[in-house]
Symmetry: C2
DNA sequence: TTATCCTATAAAGCAAGCTTTATGTTTCCA
DNA sequence: TGGAAACATAAAGCTTGCTTTATAGGATAA
């Protein structure tokens, strides 16, 4: 009945933006933007928050395609998933971009 | 102690992304992208949802700086707030963009 | 293997988002 | 001026997000 995947597309997109919709998580992203990569515990220390709390937010960020993690020994290092961020951003553009395209068409005169 | 406004900056940013973090609201945005502008009731009819429900989501979208509304007679017409969308996007870039800048510096050889 | 460090997950409780039903407000028309 | 149309807001209830406390899993070192 529907072009397959539209429903899940929107769910993934909303999950992505939900990951960005929290001050604590934005602070994590800001930190990762500064240092590039940091372990879970160091993040917790830096933000003065409990480790389970940070882990919980990191899960939201991972599910939302904002952060990726890499294991090295006992530590888990986190960094921004830049490619995924760009991909989700493009998805939103495609979702709402039709009006923009019409604007451009008008300007171009097509 | 802190550069004034950092706290509220992040709150506004999280409110913005919260506005995008819902399937119903994404469907509203998709519709507005197609038709450019539409009244509240027409949106409700199109999405097969109650009017208060749509009004509630539109409030989230307005607060988040995603949609703006214009009154014409009894109808309220909604459209995408493209400028605000771009502004919030730039804010996120600034928040997490430092790593990117370092990347560029490396490439440039600075 | 045992002990320890680092991280993830579970359970319980509180806070916030979301939906429905009902009602208030504004604008237009008869 | 009364009434209907379009939209917003309020209250109640349900769902989901979030935090804390406790515990389990995985990797290293002794």
């Amino acid at each position: 009945m529907f072009p397959l995947g539209q429903r899940d597309e929107r769910h993934e997109l909303s999950d992505h933006f939900l990951a960005l919709a929290n001050v604590t998580r934005l602070r994590i992203l800001e930190r990762l933007g500064e240092v590039g990569e940091e372990s879970v515990n160091d993040l917790a220390v830096y933000l003065h928050m409990s480790q389970p709390r940070i882990s919980w937010h990191l899960r939201m960020l991972r599910v939302g395609g904002v952060v990726r993690t890499r294991r090295d020994g006992r530590q888990v290092y986190c960094s921004l998933d830049v490619e995924s961020l760009a991909r989700e951003r493009a998805r939103l553009d495609e979702l709402i971009g039709i009006k923009e395209r019409m604007k451009v068409r008008k300007e171009v005169g097509a």
